[in-house]
Amino acid sequence: MKLDTQLLADVSAFLNVEADMLDNKEYSQWLDLWVESGLYIVPVDHTVTDYANNLNVAYDDHEMRELRIQRLTSGEAVSTQMSQKTVRTLSRFRIIDDIDGVVRVRCAYSLFEDNVNGLRTYPANIQFKLVRDGGSFKVVEKVVKIMQSGRHLTTVSYLF
């Protein structure tokens, strides 16, 4: 096994930027990280691979990503008015492959939410498909497999 530590460093730096943007609610910058055809997916059942033909917690194309961010920032949504604070960490990065310019990477993820009802925790496995973009990347696909999504979650007004 040969480790491409340069790619790993670049990818993890990028993914930490993506995560930092979401924690700091830099939503329009986050939208710019995506290719227009990209998909943001939070599945219910982690064994599913045909997301389009299964029910997901979120299945956002470009239009839905924009609508979602509009909802999170407009102030109209009562669940966003107490400004849900999150802090998330990513680790256990593994490059799965790097073929034809598409890098598949997966990582471990923990999100903590400061909820009025108590601290909420969401561990997850995330799978990314990235394409190179200049010295950085753009996101083609992000699949967030949140632990317990098949059992029960809570209501959430931010982005994983």
Binding site: A58, L67, E76, V78, G150, H152, L153, T155
Partner: protein
């Protein structure tokens, strides 16, 4: 020597339900919650599944009656069984999956094996039970089950009236609701599950509450096109809430969409134009396309079936009480068995848009519910008002009490049934 014992006046839960208000302690008193598990959930028809969730021989789903774990299974003869999820030996659950397919239910502890119909088939080393255990008497405990139009209910009450009688005036609305799939049989397509820190009755009220829609769901309304905005602007329209008896109620928000097989000549909404084209390109006739597109967004009403299931516009909402201050909700997506992929995909995308943990609607409902629960702890005494619309009631076509779409008629109907059950 005698001493005086101070007597504390304890109201029963039934006393806490008045015609126009209910006491806030109904949301938080753990003793009342325990009483409800018995007097409500053990004493009526409780929804446990839609037939399509256990479609094939060997299919199963786990569910709860109150807090009691049950298995819903379909045996090889295609009959549906609802059974206690408890081994008759020393009580372990014999089925832990949410749903699946199996040949038998085997207890993980000592290997007792039960058939799909719950009968005890085999157990290891049976010689130690010689003459003292008849397998025929030790099957999984069966629970009385009846089905109406695909909706599977179970009851623990021995002399419970037949399901059809219990449903009464709600049957007509169930039948209308099952036109969801544009001419195809209704099938469930997975669900969203989430818990919120609040009492189950808060959710029960919400399904028959139109009053909150423009405020709580403002951000959802903003996210849809102009045409859809008009459809969802129904508070001043011709809708109504009708008391169907036995705690059930129907809230009609969009009268034109009550019967999804009517008005098929109406122009196809702009937001479904792409879907219509795709279906047409696939070879479906104009009539078929119209029927599918008319149904894709769901029906125009919420049917609230006391105590734990609602047929809500385009999906089933099942509520599962966890404790006085916690409830689990399932939002079950609905599509058509054999329907075009594009139709079912659209149904799922629409469901994802509004419902569930990251929907544009549910999290804001959740905020409101959580705050109702939190507010209910304020003050020694306090009443939840459910009197909205009481002075403006009329009678429906079917002879039921009827109020405006944004009245609290449905809540009063549910609480009166609750009161009668809790009075026993």
């Amino acid at each position: 020597m005698t001493s005086k014992i101070e007597i504390k006046n304890i109201s029963t839960a039934a006393d806490l339900v008045k015609e126009d208000r209910v006491h806030k302690s109904l949301y938080s008193d753990p003793n009342i919650f325990e009483e409800e598990l018995d007097k409500v959930f053990n004493n009526t028809w409780v929804w446990v599944a839609h037939e399509s969730e256990v479609a094939e021989a060997g299919s199963y789903k786990t569910a709860k009656i109150g807090k009691q774990p049950v298995i819903v299974s379909r045996d090889r003869k295609k009959n549906i069984h609802v059974m206690e999820n408890r081994c008759r030996h020393r009580g372990a659950t014999v089925c832990e999956g949410k749903k699946g397919k199996t040949k038998a239910f085997t207890c993980p502890y000592h290997g007792w094996g039960y058939g799909l119909d719950g009968s005890l088939r085999a157990l290891p080393k049976p010689e130690e039970y010689e003459n003292i255990l008849d397998k025929k008497e030790f099957g999984l405990v069966q629970i009385r089950t009846e089905i109406y139009n695909g909706m599977v209910f179970a009851t623990l009450k021995e002399d419970m009236e037949p399901l059809e009688e219990f449903l009464g005036g709600a049957k007509k609305w169930i039948d209308l609701f099952m036109k969801q799939a544009g001419g195809y049989p209704v099938k469930t397509m997975g669900d969203h599950r989430f818990r919120f820190p609040g009492n189950w009755k808060i959710q029960l009220e919400n399904t028959t509450d139109a009053y909150h829609f423009p405020i709580v769901h403002k951000s959802f309304i903003t996210s849809v096109d102009e045409e859809a905005k008009e459809v969802f602007d129904f508070l001043d329209g011709e809708g109504f809430v009708e008391d169907l008896g036995n705690g059930h109620s129907v809230m009609v928000m969009i009268p034109e969409l009550v019967d999804l097989e009517a008005h098929l000549d109406e122009p196809i909404p702009e937001r479904y134009a792409d879907l219509a084209k795709e279906l047409s390109d696939e070879g479906h006739s104009d009539a078929e396309v119209r029927k599918l597109v008319r149904a894709v967004g769901g029906g125009g009403f919420n049917l609230n079936l006391f105590p734990n299931i609602a047929c809500s516009m385009a999906f089933f909402r099942n509520l599962v009480p966890i404790s006085a201050g916690e409830t689990e909700i399932h939002h079950i997506a609905i599509g058509g068995e054999g329907a075009p992929e594009a139709f079912n995909q659209k149904r799922m995308r629409l469901h994802e848009h509004f419902q569930g943990p990251m929907g544009f609607g549910t999290p804001d409902d959740g905020e409101a519910w959580e705050r109702v629960q939190a507010g209910s702890y304020a003050g020694e005494d306090g009443w939840i008002m459910v009197n909205r619309g009481m002075s403006k009631l009329s009678t429906s076509e079917d002879g039921n009490v009827k109020g405006a779409v944004c009245s609290e008629t449905g809540m009063r109907a549910a609480y009166q049934k609750y009161k009668s059950l809790m009075s026993r």
